[in-house]
């Protein structure tokens, strides 16, 4: 276990930045989100949850895949170059690291998404423990320990110090690079903090949420359940839940006409939108109930069925915080649980 004084964090970030891009929570106009760190930017390690999850470091909200240019009677296709420089993401929480593991199952499964894979290969994740988990948090339900994040490096902010522990080869390499700023630390301090964090988590309102009914069985019963007809009603189809979610991976591929060429880019999309499945010959999800049901069936039933029981939810609680109609996955899980369906 190593440590660095909080007052020296700016030096630490400057040193990390010497060998590549550094992404960390930055406060802009009172909103904290992960962004590339510039000297003098207001980094914010106190806000528990960034508004958007940090997934866009690996799966950007928008990215060009290739560019097409008409050249006589042919088209010149130029693929976008892959990320080939190392970078560091600092301050990801355990739930968001879990979100990346869910995205890994999507983008690193055959056929591998090269764009995502290149970012994963070159990115080092420094995770930060959650010292004050909030009422909307329920990562424990998905087996995630906010007191002990599992990433390349795990860190804890205790008192005036940041405690630092490398967990992987990538983490060791980063630790080596910044070793001049780190000093030996007492492991017991971190152990005590973990105990304190876990005590808070135990008392959170959703920590005892049961996933008992969501074991991948009874797909037809769940799909046909009348509960959806009531649950979906407040949904405004705004898509906020999907954009703040660390595991939502639906994307669109579109054209951007530059005037002299066409960039084919992909961007986040949302299964909450009516045109998501619209085709020339019709739409297989015409009602908001169907779209609402799709989102939760995907996270709690279809995804686990395809991924050894792993849920496509990590309990970050952003949807709980952000939904303008106070709808969220907790309500869905509870509705089915309480009705025993």
């Amino acid at each position: 276990m190593l440590k660095i004084a909080k007052k020296d964090l700016a030096s630490l970030f400057a040193l990390i930045k010497e060998s590549g891009e550094l992404y960390l929570p930055v406060k802009v106009a009172e909103q904290t989100n992960f962004a590339a760190y510039e000297d003098g930017a207001e980094f914010d390690l106190d806000t528990l949850k960034s508004v958007k999850s940090p997934k866009d470091v690996f799966f950007p909200q928008s990215e060009t895949l290739y560019t097409c240019k008409n050249e006589g009677k042919t088209i010149k296709i130029t693929p976008e170059e892959l990320v080939d420089q190392p970078f560091v993401v600092f301050g990801m929480k355990a739930c968001d690291v879990g979100g990346i593991e869910v995205l890994d199952r999507v983008f690193l499964s055959d056929p591998v998404d090269s764009f995502y894979a290149a970012r994963r290969a070159h990115g080092t994740i420094v995770a930060l423990a959650c010292h004050e988990p909030e009422e909307s948090c329920f990562c424990k339900v998905f087996g995630i320990d906010a007191a002990e994040p599992v990433a390349d490096v795990a860190t804890w902010m205790i008192g005036d110090e940041l405690y630092w522990k490398a967990l992987t080869e990538k983490g060791e390499a980063l630790t080596e690079k910044v070793s001049s700023l780190l000093t030996d630390a007492d492991e017991q301090v971190v152990e005590n903090e973990k105990t304190a964090i876990r005590a808070i988590i135990e008392k959170l309102p959703y920590s005892d949420l049961s996933l008992e009914g969501w074991n991948g069985d009874a797909v037809a019963e769940k799909f046909d359940s009348k509960l959806w007809n009531e649950l979906y009603k407040p949904c405004l189809a705004c898509g906020t839940c999907t954009f703040v979610c660390p595991t939502c991976q639906c994307y669109d591929i579109k054209d951007y006409n530059t005037g002299s060429s066409v960039q084919r880019y992909r961007c986040w999309d949302s299964c909450m939108y009516s045109d998501f499945t619209m085709m020339a010959h019709g739409n297989n999800r015409t009602s908001q109930m169907q779209r609402f049901r799709q989102r939760f069936m995907h996270k709690l039933v279809y995804f686990p069925a395809n991924n050894d029981g792993t849920y496509s939810c990590v309990g970050c609680g952003r949807c709980v915080d952000k939904c303008p109609a106070s709808l969220n996955i907790v309500k869905v899980i509870k509705a089915f649980g309480e009705k025993g369906e």
């Binding site: 009677k73 296709i77 892959l82 056929p111 894979a117 994307y251 669109d252 054209d255 999309d269």
Partner: protein, 298 residues
């Protein structure tokens, strides 16, 4: 773009940093266009240097894109046994297909694929009697299988093709049907159109009704060794399945294809799923008893 030098990391080994991701298309050149019906054209596509863009299996699809217009998934209607080119029969019915219908021989498009599974031509279908049931543009994916079967005639039993359309003018691939399929030994073609039409001497009636007549009169036998392959508009598929059920055909002896909106083609963009199955990756070919197990959302 280099298309050959791919290492384990899906990177091109001769262009630093270049990806050979499945999302990156190749350029295809339209080398022939046949006007099949008032709203269906068959496009022949070659690589710019000639030959095929890739190898595929019967039933597989490819993403065709006109940069700046749109991209869409189309079944490859030519058989893999055709070593010279690939063909796509495309009905004009939306933004992209409207534009495709304005293209001329020599125009470039982009193509990526092949995507999806295929009809089990080398396993389940081998040695079996085959009944193809198609409606309208639904012939497109089945044509790939039919020509594969004709080119490997000895590997399969009797072949019956029941094909219908709104009118005689809407039957696609009519030249090939008359000049090749009808003349192939052991292949029987049964054409039908929805309404009486001057000059039409064949059957008049909907495909499901005609299929039942053919089955009940013994012109088509549905034995234990018969596999049916059905493709067409959803309403036709529904009544064909009902007709087959009435004739005692079990669903595990029927294959069909499904179609939903697609963007990526590899089960990642999240829109063509039916339950935990992705039509682009786990389909488009499904056995009908498997379809029954999926949530009713297609």
């Amino acid at each position: 773009m280099c298309t050959e030098h791919k290492n384990e990391n899906h990177e091109c080994t001769c262009h630093t940093g270049y990806t050979l991701d499945t999302l990156i298309p190749k350029v295809g050149i339209i080398t022939d266009i046949r006007e099949e019906t008032p709203d269906v054209k068959t496009f022949r596509v070659n690589a710019p240097e000639g030959g095929k863009l890739f190898e595929h299996l019967p039933g597989q699809c490819a993403m065709i894109c006109v940069p700046g217009v749109s991209e869409g998934m189309f079944s490859i209607t030519s058989s893999p046994t055709n070593k010279e080119y690939q063909e796509f029969s495309i009905k004009r019915c939306g933004m992209l297909t409207d534009h495709l219908h304005t293209l001329q021989v020599g125009d470039p498009i982009t193509v990526r694929g092949p995507y999806g599974n295929n009809f089990p031509v080398d396993t389940v279908l081998k040695g079996k009697d085959l009944v193809f049931v198609a409606g309208g543009i639904g012939l497109a994916p089945l044509r790939s299988v039919i020509n594969y079967v004709i080119d490997n005639r000895a590997d399969y039993g009797k072949v019956d093709i029941v094909y219908g359309s709104r009118s005689a003018d809407d039957l696609v691939q009519l030249k090939e049907i008359r000049e090749l399929w009808m003349k192939t030994e052991g292949v029987n073609v049964h054409l039908t159109i929805d309404r009486e039409q001057e000059g039409w001497t064949g059957n008049v009636g909907f495909v499901p009704t005609y299929l039942k007549e053919l089955g009940e009169s013994g012109q088509i036998e549905f034995g234990v060794n018969t596999i049916s392959l059905v493709c067409g508009p959803p309403i036709m598929i529904k009544f064909v399945l009902a007709a087959l059920k009435d004739m005692g055909v079990s669903k595990d002896k029927i294959y069909t294809t499904l179609e939903l909106r697609m963007k990526c083609g590899v089960g990642k963009c999240g829109r063509c799923n039916i339950g935990s199955k992705y039509v682009c990756k786990d389909g488009p070919v499904f056995r009908c008893d498997e379809v029954d197990e999926l949530p009713n959302e297609y």
